[in-house]
């Protein structure tokens, strides 16, 4: 029972992390019809930058902010500098993001080397324990879970209750019509990309703190984002939350109870969704 509760909580925190990464991915996809396969690289780059900044300033919180801000800026640069030049050619955009991820992964390896980095968050946060029924659980992970929920609700409110969110949703439905009604679509794209990429960077620092940062994490979180949005439905933030929950829980439960086959469960969930609902749980038919 204790193992189950601990595993369940681990699954929830893993899901929180997946949600943070995948919500940005799905947001960008939903609006721009662009599969950003460099999303995992943004995660890892955000983590590395966050670590370096935290290392210099000595404050973990500044590191988190740096991870978010640096990737937001990177996202805007990508959108304005590259994707805008090949609008509407989704295959070409996808290929470009693949090329970028190759180059970024290699440059990160050149800059930060192949070793594993650990963050140094405040002790009260990282080593604090909270008693929950039968177990004591890490305060840091609960805060991570809370943050993901707050960000999830925040994103939902932002998309559904603010003028910019309205524009983004309108853009998801009909981009051309939105442009016709006088909205600066390029600005909306840039904002969406900034949020999506920033969330990846933020998740990088937080995820790097929960676990660690090392080369290869970019591929791991790219795969997670892919599976989460395939399961949850492309372009839907709610779908990303549901997908992240399913994948995070199945992964952690699988790791605890049958370690050699844990990936298979993730895969089976994906196959089942594709078989019965190809557009994803919350996705709309294309």
């Amino acid at each position: 029972m204790k193992l189950f509760i601990l595993t369940f909580l681990n699954g929830l925190t893993q899901a929180a992390l997946y949600f943070l990464v995948a919500s940005g991915f799905t947001l960008v996809f939903g609006l721009m019809r662009q599969v950003n396969l460099a999303h995992g690289s943004l995660y890892l780059l955000g983590a590395y930058i966050g670590w370096s900044v935290a290392n210099i300033t000595g404050s973990w919180f500044i590191g988190v902010a740096a991870g978010f801000l640096a990737m937001s800026v990177a996202g805007v640069l990508l959108q304005v500098g590259i994707f805008r030049r090949m609008e509407g050619q989704d295959l070409r955009q996808t290929l470009v993001t693949i090329g970028l991820s190759i180059v970024l992964a290699d440059l990160m390896l050149a800059t930060w080397g192949g070793k594993t980095y650990q963050f140094d968050p405040p002790d009260w946060l990282f080593f604090g324990k909270v008693p929950l029924y039968f177990v004591k659980y890490s305060l840091f992970r609960l805060v991570l879970l809370g943050t993901a929920i707050v960000i999830g609700i925040g994103l939902w409110l932002f998309l559904n209750r603010t003028p910019i969110g309205m524009m983004i949703r309108a853009g998801v439905d009909d981009r051309a019509m939105l442009a016709c009604s006088g909205v600066n679509v390029q600005r909306v794209f840039a904002i969406t990309f900034a949020i999506g990429a920033g969330l990846a960077g933020f998740a990088g620092v937080v995820g790097g703190t929960t676990y660690s940062i090392a080369p290869g994490e970019d591929a791991h979180y790219l795969l997670a984002s892919l599976v989460v949005v395939i399961v949850g439905g492309m372009g839907s933030v709610t779908g990303a939350a549901i997908g992240a929950l399913l994948i995070g829980l199945s992964e952690q439960l699988g790791l605890a109870y049958s370690p050699t086959y844990s990936v298979v469960y993730t895969f089976v969930i994906m196959v089942a969704v594709l078989a019965f609902r190809p557009q994803g749980i919350m996705g709309r038919p294309a």
């Binding site: 295959l91 693949i98 090329g99 180059v103 795969l223 395939i230 492309m234 594709l274 294309a286």
Partner: protein, 345 residues
């Protein structure tokens, strides 16, 4: 590109069955081992050929079927794993079947696996296919790394040997080169043939307008799945050669890097014609081996990534497209150029 365009002029067709350049290339490929060192025969020659074969399977799917699959290296790796399991390897998880049993078994199972991947992948279309095949490929990678019972986990299998048939060790440079060449030539001819067959033509029509083909009574779903199966067989051939050359297979062979390398090769060469993947493979292998002379060896990925980005930016049809543009540019500079160009387009 809506149908297979023959750029040959009608008047020339009866005089020469093949384009003179084709004959020259074929001759060069045949005499190549006699003018090259073993390193150039195997590391450059044979490797370009079988990487070209694997990339050819992607070209077939993407160029004729409109389905960009990132799992072709997974399929090839699967074939490699099957050869290691049915044949011999350094740990004793093997069956040690003779070559005439292990090769067909590996090819058959791999084609089956590729068809299953196809069944999943064609549930969606367009860029979704990239995502799903990438997810499938990476799931298989993580699975082989975790699983020790069948796939021997992180270290995979070593000491996988090519068979000795008719007194020839097929891993010796010369036989291995000619084997790779034969497989590449057969795959190439097969892809060209299938592309011009009824199946290939309806596949291309489906690529251009699936809804119309569906309305005309064609089974869109089945065509796409069969295309995945055929491409899987071609990739499996490449995978068998791959495992024989390296003598080993491990999750590293089917990591995200190699998966994407196949896409890089295919896009680099060009997705419009079956010769593209081979051109791409030669450039890729040469860069891989001689990047050390251009930049730091460790930064090969940066170089290949930048080359890839350059191609995607400036010539979406790859090096073939670049070549074609050069030729057409030279032609339109001439006087009679305009006429031929209009005829062939």
């Amino acid at each position: 590109m809506s149908v297979t365009v023959s750029t040959r002029q009608p008047g020339l067709a009866w005089r020469l069955p093949f384009h003179p350049a084709t004959v020259l290339v074929a001759l060069f490929l045949l005499v190549y081992p006699f003018i090259a060192t073993p390193f150039w025969i195997v590391q450059i020659g044979a490797q370009s050929l079988f990487l070209g074969v694997i990339a050819l399977s992607l070209m077939f799917l993407a160029g004729y079927g409109g389905m960009v699959s990132l799992s072709q290296m997974t399929v090839a790796g699967f074939a490699g794993y099957m050869i290691a399991l049915f044949g011999t390897n350094h740990v004793n998880i093997d069956l040690a079947w003779p070559w005439w049993a292990q090769i067909p078994a590996a090819l058959l199972l791999t084609t089956l696996a590729a068809t299953l991947i196809g069944v999943l992948a064609v549930r969606t279309a367009g860029i979704y296919t990239i995502m799903i095949t990438l997810a499938i490929g990476m799931a298989f990678f993580y699975f082989t790394r975790q699983n020790y019972a069948i796939f021997n986990g992180f270290s995979g299998f070593a000491s996988v040997q090519a068979p000795v048939v008719a007194g020839i060790n097929w891993r010796d440079p010369l036989p291995f080169y000619y084997l790779s060449l034969a497989v590449a030539a057969l795959s190439y001819v097969a892809v060209v043939y299938v592309a011009r067959s009824t199946f290939g033509l309806s596949l291309q029509a489906i690529r251009d307008n699936p809804r119309r083909m569906n309305a005309l009574g064609f089974n869109v779903y089945l065509h796409r799945v069969v295309a995945h199966g055929l491409a899987g067989f071609v990739a499996a051939l490449g995978g068998v050669l791959l495992v024989w050359m390296n003598g080993r297979i491990s999750p590293g062979t089917i990591d995200i890097g190699p998966l994407i390398n196949i896409l890089v090769i295919a896009v680099l060469g060009g997705l419009r014609h079956p010769v593209g993947p081979f051109v791409g493979a030669i450039v890729f292998v040469l860069l891989q081996n001689f990047a050390i002379d251009l930049i730091d060896r460790e930064r090969f990925n940066t170089l290949i990534g930048l080359v890839f980005l350059g191609i995607v930016f400036f010539s979406p049809d790859g090096l073939l497209g670049l070549w074609q543009r050069l030729v057409e540019g030279a032609r339109s500079a001439g006087t009679a150029g305009g006429w031929t160009r209009n005829r062939s387009s």
